[in-house]
């Protein structure tokens, strides 16, 4: 009679894999979307940090040698037009109209000598630099800010008493293991939960509510096949599909996370984890999928149509989301009892694995309790298959 499990299992897989639309929307599209989206988001973030390639056009009157040298450095991003004091009014007018230049700096004549001669204790007026700009233009305002910080830096370098971190050494001692651990343990568990959920939901709802809606499940129920075998066959095949879809999404995520993190990208790589970490994660994911599929199957068994099922499973989606978000805050708890809570336990275990705080006892509790919940799910589903109120409600 075990052949019924296998027959149902094979049928569900065939149903899925020979439906091109289904394969594309559940297997290929999510992975592709993740890859494109993360790379796009990553680029956007990087561009924002770099501030683009544009240079600020600055008109400078009486620009001293010392300052000129600084502005000629590549990364400052100034294009300096030396201007005579007689042209000042014309430059100010063009600034008002927001044309040609972004700011105009006026240095006193002999700025360098005046500065070196100046004694701050003398009570005399310090040499004054004037910067004209137009705050209605973002470009001009930015040029103004950049000029101020450059000049401030120049000023403090003149009264330099000590330096911090000016050598060529690496001062931030974070290594890529810690960095990856931090990023992965915060983001991946939540993302994985979302992928698992979204990858199985449409297929699962289809497999029960869809069959009920079209009256095909009753055809199966008049055969002597045990209801429990039908339930197991469904859960197993749907789990396999969900796992496949989720692994594609996961691989795409791990491949795109460096791009998403932009500046720190060299520090982040899935390569810091060993085989053991990946195997443990796979084990957790497998047990999670079984629980999730059982939950969605049960909820959609009550619905008489796919549409109805989609509203019945909303609470499950919220729980999955909440469990996923719980992984973003703080370290995984040590209290073992907490690992009896389905979905939450998976997120916390994964969080622990990704941050290199593996607690084997809690992983074992998670896997065992998830297996028990799946068993319970099979029992409930079998009951539902036997219940005419559920299966043949009008």
């Amino acid at each position: 009679m075990k052949s019924a499990v296998f027959a149902v299992f094979k049928k569900e897989l065939k149903r899925f894999f020979s439906d091109r639309r289904m394969v594309i929307t559940t297997l290929l599209l999510p992975g592709l979307l993740i890859f494109v989206m993360y790379n796009f988001m990553g680029n956007a973030v990087t561009n924002m940090i770099d501030g683009g390639e544009e240079k600020y056009v600055i008109n400078a009157v009486n620009i001293p040698k010392s300052i000129k040298m600084i502005t000629e450095q590549e990364q400052i991003g100034f294009e300096i037009n030396e201007t005579d004091i007689s042209e000042l009014q014309a430059v100010k007018d063009s600034l008002k109209d927001g044309e040609e230049c972004d700011a105009c700096v006026v240095f006193p004549e002999d700025f360098d000598t005046a500065v070196s001669r100046y004694d701050s204790h003398s009570g005399e007026k310090a040499p004054e630099i004037k910067i004209y700009y137009n705050s209605s233009s973002a470009q001009s305002a930015a040029a103004y800010q950049t000029l101020i910080s450059m000049l401030d830096m120049y000023e403090s370098s003149m009264i330099n008493k000590f330096d911090i971190n000016t050598g060529n050494e690496v001062y931030d001692l974070v290594d890529n293991k810690d960095m990856t651990g931090q990023v992965f343990s915060m983001l991946l568990p939540m993302l994985l939960m979302m992928f698992l959920y979204s990858s199985c939901v449409s297929v699962v709802v289809e497999a029960i509510a869809g069959e009920k809606e079209r009256g095909t499940i009753a055809t199966m129920l008049v055969t002597p096949a045990k209801r429990s075998h039908i339930a197991i066959g469904k859960i197993a095949s749907l789990s396999l599909i969900a796992l496949l879809s989720a692994s594609i999404s996961t691989v795409c995520t791990i491949a795109s996370l460096p791009a998403l993190m932009g500046a720190e990208s060299e520090m982040i790589s899935g390569g810091v984890y060993g085989i053991k970490d990946y195997l443990l994660t796979a084990l957790i994911i497998l047990s999670t999928v079984l629980v999730m599929i059982s939950l969605i199957l049960i909820a959609s068994a009550f619905a008489s149509s796919v549409k109805e099922a989609q509203t019945y499973i909303i609470p499950i989606m919220i729980i999955v989301l909440a469990a996923g978000i719980s992984g973003m805050f703080g370290n995984p708890p040590d209290r073992s009892a907490l690992y009896l809570i389905p979905l939450y336990n998976s997120v916390q275990c994964m969080s622990g694995i990704f941050s290199f705080n593996i607690n084997y006892a809690n992983i074992v509790i998670t896997v065992i309790s998830n297996t028990v919940y799946t068993g319970l799910g099979i029992v409930i589903l079998t009951r539902l298959f036997n219940s005419e109120r559920v299966m043949f409600s009008k």
């Binding site: 009679m1 052949s3 019924a4 296998f6 027959a7 149902v8 049928k11 065939k14 149903r15 020979s18 439906d19 069959e211 079209r214 009256g215 095909t216 009753a218 055809t219 199966m220 129920l221 008049v222 055969t223 002597p224 096949a225 045990k226 005419e388 043949f392 009008k394």
Partner: protein, 261 residues
């Protein structure tokens, strides 16, 4: 007189459904429940074709679903080949073939695939299944569309495929709800001819219908159901009582429900 053996006995089968508010409105009733089958008793002899005749809503489909163990009776029981539909539903399912219009085949698969799938659910050995499939597909001319997805088949083709698939396990009792509904005269004839052939092969057939001619053509005995109760249950000749079956049905109906039809 032949010695006939009873293969099916229904004993005071009763089935009540709860009505939702929407159904109450549709049925124009204030009752919270509806008794679809009300203490129904009858028996079917081995090797005969038995017809359940009744107007819409009489409880024919509900009765057949009870026999097929898809739903459970509130009280009463029925025995098919000695197996109780209440206590041994799996044994009953092994021995019956059941076909109604609300048992459908998945649009996505071909008749060929579905035949094999259901043969596996019925635990039919591979070689026997292949040989039986060939015979059934030949009978119904399914060969031409065996590899076409069910969703692309016409109503008649679907019905033929469903018929073949309900017989994958060569059941000895075959239960058909409205077997010719929605079929053209030619396809309907294929089906009625097949019912007779099943009988020739020693099978017991139970059909439900509201079509008098079908009963007259194929049935040995008929049970007339009105409002979930058995009004008469006898051979066609005895029920017709010298008149046409239709006329005597109206007599029975007005006698039961009261007033002219």
């Amino acid at each position: 007189m032949f010695f006939t053996e009873t293969i099916l006995t229904a004993d005071k089968l009763t089935k009540t459904f709860k009505l939702s508010a929407k159904q109450q409105r549709l049925e124009k009733t204030k009752n919270k429940t509806i008794t679809a089958v009300d203490g129904l008793s009858f028996s079917v002899n081995e090797g005969e074709i038995f017809g359940l005749l009744g107007p819409n809503g009489a409880g024919k489909t509900t009765t057949l679903r009870l026999l097929a163990t898809l739903i459970r009776p509130d009280s009463g029981d029925a025995f098919i080949k000695g197996f109780s539909i209440v206590k041994e539903p799996e044994k009953v399912r092994e021995n019956i073939g059941f076909l109604t219009s609300d048992l459908r085949l998945e649009d996505f698969f071909t008749p060929n695939y579905l035949y094999d799938f259901f043969a596996r659910l019925h635990n039919v050995p591979e070689e026997i299944s292949a040989e039986r499939k060939k015979r059934l597909f030949d009978t119904f001319g399914i060969g031409d569309f065996a590899e076409v997805k069910v969703g692309n088949l016409s109503t008649g083709m679907k019905q033929k495929a469903s018929l073949a698939i309900s017989l994958v396990h060569d059941p000895s009792v075959i239960i058909f709800d409205e077997p010719t509904n929605g079929l053209d005269v030619i396809t309907a004839k294929v089906v009625t001819d097949f019912l007779k052939e099943l009988k020739r092969n020693g099978k017991t057939v139970i059909i439900s219908t509201h079509i008098f001619s079908l009963i007259e053509k194929v049935c040995d005995r008929v049970g007339v159901i009105i409002n979930g109760r058995m009004a008469v249950c006898d051979t066609i000749q005895n029920v017709a009582d010298g008149k046409s079956l239709e006329d005597s049905f109206f007599d029975i109906y007005s006698e039961r429900v009261g007033g002219e039809v």
